[in-house]
Subunit: 316 residues, 2 copies
């Protein structure tokens, strides 16, 4: 019989197909496991598959007496209570870097769409404004990327790939992270100084308790009225109400967001701004990235069920 | 008295401001010059400022007996009848490369927005589809850029800048132009072979009689059902009705267009497709690019009125 894997996040059909070929999947579709399955069914579940950003801790672990492995689909594991897992001897795995290229690509997609006003431009053309020679903010040239000062916050695999890409656009790139890394960009040891310096702030830091709401009202003020912000990391890194206020009163020029404080939920206030680009957490969402992430998940699950160490463990 | 410059294209206020400080501008706002100004007023016009893509030839030249210089704002000069100008001894100038970075940036903006479905994704979030967990094509991961074969058609200044940028996205880049250039990308001597090979075709060729409708129904068929097309060059390079048919019946996967067969006019049929991104010829439309282009225009006009050769002449 195939090994059981409890799936606690909502995944698309195309994502689960390869897992279903090798494992017996028990899907809760986001509901508490004990609302969907009986205790007998859950008693011998040894592995759990989750989106790393979704809360997962003691409450769920207690429903699963045999649980020994939590495998995150993707890079993130910020939703997983690592302490609770360690106490139970549950190993935690992820898919490090498997979607880094796709996420970095989306960061640039958001940045370029925002700075070059691709969304209002497209709407203007489609509505016939261009052919009708209607006045439009489109006629006023925006600030472009050439010569812009770009600050990358977080220089892990995704941050590095973002830096490589954006440097190709004739920009000046600097970064901040807890320590200096071996990358060909200027290191700024203080986040506030990076924000003061840059025109464009790209948030790629790994989310955690130490980064919660670190981009707050004060930081947004320091980014300034010509500054733009792109976040492909986690919504928790930005004080979302402060961001909404900053967009409303022109404290910053605009924002490109793939992640939000509470997903799947982008506040209505954000959706009203013309100077934002909003995507529904699709950073790692490409065919290639999914195949790479699935490879990591399958390798982690196979190793666990065969009694071997996880090839892609989360380093606590 | 300031030297007269006839302005035959429609320019935004912000674009003309710097010229008005130095020259006496006579604006036709796109109308035939003799409908706006009397013959006496036009008699001593020695220089003309135009968007290079707009038709300009004998008919206008005949209204301007003293005309000696046609200065194009931007890189293009495909609308100017160079033969007619040469016969009259009229010199033609442009702003070579001044907007190349901005145009290359927009090519990437269109490509990324198209491939990562940024426009439908933004609409999905704003309309509440994401928070309502509504089914959406967004849930099906698209093909991303990682590992994609990217064909750049035309390797002038813009094509080179596009190639540099897109190579940073972990793609494989090849190019076609009339001859091999000293660039670190694979040269494919036949356009059709480039199109057969690539997943993404970026059109950056200089428009002219030899490239008219060169991307035709046959080429689009060779690009294929997974192929995407981005054009930031001129609409004339693509057989637009063939492109519309190819988008309608799935002959190609999608298109990002900044330029059209007849501007300012994007066909209604295009505006109905979800798999296109349409911008109103804003490739060179950034503050930095405008300043650089204006510098070229001013240098060309100043030289001409002082009897010096144009610093930025069009090489016929």
């Amino acid at each position: 019989m195939a090994d059981k894997v409890l799936v606690t996040s909502r995944f698309g059909r195309s994502m689960l197909g390869r897992f279903a070929e090798r494992f017996a999947l028990l899907e809760t579709a986001g509901k508490p496991a004990d609302q969907v399955f009986g205790a007998a069914e859950l008693a011998d579940v040894r592995a759990l598959l989750t989106m790393g950003g979704q809360p997962l801790g003691r409450e769920t672990f207690e429903m699963l007496p045999a649980l020994g492995a939590v495998i995150c689909y993707g890079t993130g594991y910020d939703g997983v209570d690592l302490k609770a897992a360690a106490e139970r001897g549950i190993v935690v795995g992820n898919s490090p870097g498997a979607n880094a290229s796709a996420v970095a690509d989306l960061a640039l997609a958001l940045l370029l769409a925002l700075m070059r006003r691709v969304l209002p431009a497209d709407a203007y053309v489609r509505a016939g404004g261009w052919s009708g020679a209607k006045p439009s903010p489109m006629l006023k040239p925006p600030r472009g990327l050439t010569g812009a000062k770009v600050g990358v916050y977080g220089i892990g695999e995704i941050g590095r790939k973002i830096a490589t890409r954006v440097a190709g656009f004739e920009t000046e790139v600097a970064y901040h992270s807890r320590s200096r890394h071996d990358v060909p960009y200027r290191y700024i040891g203080d986040l506030g100084e990076l924000v003061d310096w840059c025109d464009v702030l790209l948030v790629a830091v790994r989310a955690g308790p130490d980064t919660e709401n670190i981009i707050d009202a004060e930081m947004l003020k320091r980014l300034g009225p010509n500054g733009v912000l792109v976040n492909i990391s986690r919504g928790s890194v930005i004080d979302q109400p402060a961001l909404i206020a900053a967009l409303r009163d022109g404290t910053i020029a605009g924002a490109g967001l793939d992640v939000y404080a509470q997903e799947p939920y982008a506040p209505d206030a954000l959706a009203e701004f013309p100077n934002v680009v909003l995507t529904p957490h699709i950073g790692g969402h490409t065919l290639e990235a999914h195949v790479a992430m699935q490879d990591c998940v399958i390798a982690n699950l196979a190793a666990y069920f065969e009694g071997r160490p996880l090839p892609y463990p989360v380093e606590a």
